[in-house]
């Protein structure tokens, strides 16, 4: 079978990529450049996490900032009030986000397609307003992590390098979870639900159960990314972790690279973060206004040129290159469906 060699080639490719990522900071020593690499890994991690529900299961969430923010606030509050190490705080944040995902998924999954997406936007907006008005969470002022501590226990570092390896580890974890889902019956069910929900039900697949699994796992991993953000920035406020722009960025990274495939969001992160950082140096602005313009431009480009993202575009190119094997001539049933 060809699938066997395919799998081992993929494994070899992944191992090579991982080895490269592990030694990359030896070559890239400039802190601002290391920071750039960290931003890419953070983007990739959130994109891969989003892809589980938005890509595989086809349930487009435009409110993932709610999980990101829950992760950031949970681990930070646990550190500030109980002195709990963020290693456990991030897990707690993941659990809180997962519970929140179950609670919001139950009603929201009764809505289909665009209505589901709109409901997720609403949930995230409401959450941002609630946190902004919460005295216990310092409202709009935000939370500062302790400046007088550092080290692996509190996960606060003076240099960029440790952050790089922590987020690389989190990305690897997120990819592994995704990969395990993709290969299990759950991954098949997700794709079935995305393609033909009614047919999936006829084969015994409970839509609610599997959509909830997708959202919950995705929320858990997204929240861990949020905890990492808090550790790296050492400051969070509702605008920086609960904002609508974060939600759009998370979804866009996956959509830009190509949804439903493991490598898509990683590619999307490299592209989007690079453009973001370059435009920042170009326009000298870090305001969310520029971000929004970039995101909007990206969405239009994807929608017009390649709805299946950059991966889809590459696939098309490969098929049209000279020497590529011609597509089989067959009657496709696609057009016949009413």
């Amino acid at each position: 079978m060809t699938t066997g060699t395919n799998v081992s080639r993929k494994m070899a490719g992944t191992a090579a990529l991982l080895a490269l990522a592990a030694v990359l900071p030896l070559a890239v020593t400039e802190p601002s450049q290391q920071n750039f690499l960290i931003l890419i890994l953070m983007g990739a991690q959130m994109g891969v996490a989003w892809n589980i529900v938005g890509g595989y299961a086809g349930q487009v969430s435009l409110g993932h900032a709610v999980f990101y923010g829950i992760g950031a606030y949970t681990s930070t509050m646990l550190l500030l009030t109980l002195g709990l190490t963020p290693w456990i705080g991030a897990l707690a944040g993941g659990l809180v986000a997962a519970a929140f995902a179950l609670a919001m998924g139950w009603p929201c999954f009764r809505l289909k397609g665009h209505y589901f997406a709109m409901a997720t936007i609403a949930v995230a907006e409401i959450m941002q307003i609630l946190v902004t008005n919460s005295d216990a969470l310092e409202g709009a002022v935000g939370l500062y992590l302790p400046m007088d501590q550092s080290g692996w226990g509190v996960l606060i570092f003076l240099s960029k390098l440790p952050y790089y390896y922590v987020i690389l580890g989190l990305l690897v974890l997120t990819v592994l979870v995704s990969w395990a889902i993709e290969r299990s019956h759950i991954g098949y069910y997700f794709r079935a639900i995305k393609d033909e929900p009614e047919a999936a039900r006829a084969l015994g697949v409970s839509l609610t159960r599997y959509k909830l699994i997708a959202l919950t796992v995705s929320a858990f991993l997204t929240a861990m990314g949020g905890s990492f953000y808090a550790q790296k920035e050492m400051f969070i406020d509702p605008g920086s972790v609960f904002a609508g722009t974060i939600s759009i960025k998370i979804a866009l990274i996956a959509i830009l690279g190509g949804v439903g495939r493991l490598t898509g969001p990683v590619l999307g992160a490299v592209i989007l973060i690079t453009i973001e950082e370059y435009s920042r140096t170009l326009f000298g602005s870090t305001g969310s206004g520029t971000d929004m313009i970039i995101y909007a431009a990206m969405i239009i480009l994807v929608a017009v040129f390649s709805p299946s993202g950059v991966l889809g575009l590459l696939g098309d190119l490969r098929r049209h290159l000279p020497g590529a094997k011609p597509a089989e001539v067959e009657t496709s049933a696609k057009e016949i469906r009413p």
């Binding site: 299990s184 098949y188 006829a202 697949v205 067959e330």
Partner: protein
């Protein structure tokens, strides 16, 4: 011995705000039986399938499967109990290969991917699609997609399979192959209800025929009886 009929439908009715698509339909299906379900366009055949498979909640009446009341159950629990179906307008999983489509069906009984794959390979062979296993389902012809839906339904290990116009658009040779396939499903001990407009495909193999007209059952008997039934002839001529 199992004395309860496999399926017992009693006084089933279904209305869509005002429009009555099924009215007071009663019949039984025994284990392994082949039932032909015919009737003019819009007679309510697909609606009846949707009620049996849990996609619609009947407005009136009861459905019992192996003696248990399943009226208004969900599609997923109907599938788990052993009722499988195909769709009149094909609904294959477009992003998956033919084999993967069938694997999703097999996973109802066995969540292990490798075992679901073996099961799916067997079912693809059963419907004669082994050579298309690795082809994306979206690249199959419509008639291949219909057979793929049959394989996918069979992979759920049903006791009753509902086939909605699987012979539509087939040439005479293909119709004979489809009839043979239904017969082999029968030989596996699986009962089937077959909605079909292609009479050559269904009349020779059905044990019994049900005829619907304007949502009501107007005849129930052997194919020979049905062919001579005045009400049936009137329903078809009056179309």
């Amino acid at each position: 011995m199992n004395t309860a009929p496999l399926l017992a439908v009693d006084g089933l009715g279904k209305a869509f705000d005002g429009l009555v698509a099924n009215r007071d339909i009663s019949f039984v299906v025994h284990h392994g039986e082949i039932i032909g379900l015919i009737g003019p366009n819009g007679a309510g055949k697909t609606t009846l399938f949707n009620c049996l498979a849990g996609f619609h909640t009947p407005t009136t009446g009861r459905i019992a499967f192996e003696g248990h009341d399943i009226t208004g159950s969900t599609p997923e629990s109907a599938a788990a109990l052993g009722i499988a179906r195909t769709f009149q307008i094909v609904r294959v999983f477009q992003s998956m290969t033919a084999l993967e489509n069938v694997m999703v069906g097999a996973m109802l009984r066995n969540k292990r991917v490798s075992e679901a794959r073996e099961r799916a390979e067997d079912e693809l062979a059963f419907v004669g699609l082994s050579h298309r296993a690795d082809t994306p389902a979206s690249d199959l012809t419509v008639s291949e997609q219909k057979r793929l839906e049959v394989a996918r339904a069979l992979a759920t290990e049903p006791k009753l399979i509902l086939l909605d116009e699987v012979m539509a658009g087939l040439n005479p040779t293909e119709v004979r192959e489809a009839s043979a396939l239904v017969h082999r499903i029968h030989q596996r001990g699986i009962a089937s209800i077959i909605v079909e407009h292609v009479m050559e495909g269904i009349m020779p193999i059905a044990h019994r025929m049900l005829v619907l007209d304007y949502g009501a059952k107007i005849a129930d008997g052997t194919p020979a009886e049905i062919a001579e039934n005045p009400a049936v002839i009137a329903a078809y001529l009056g179309e």
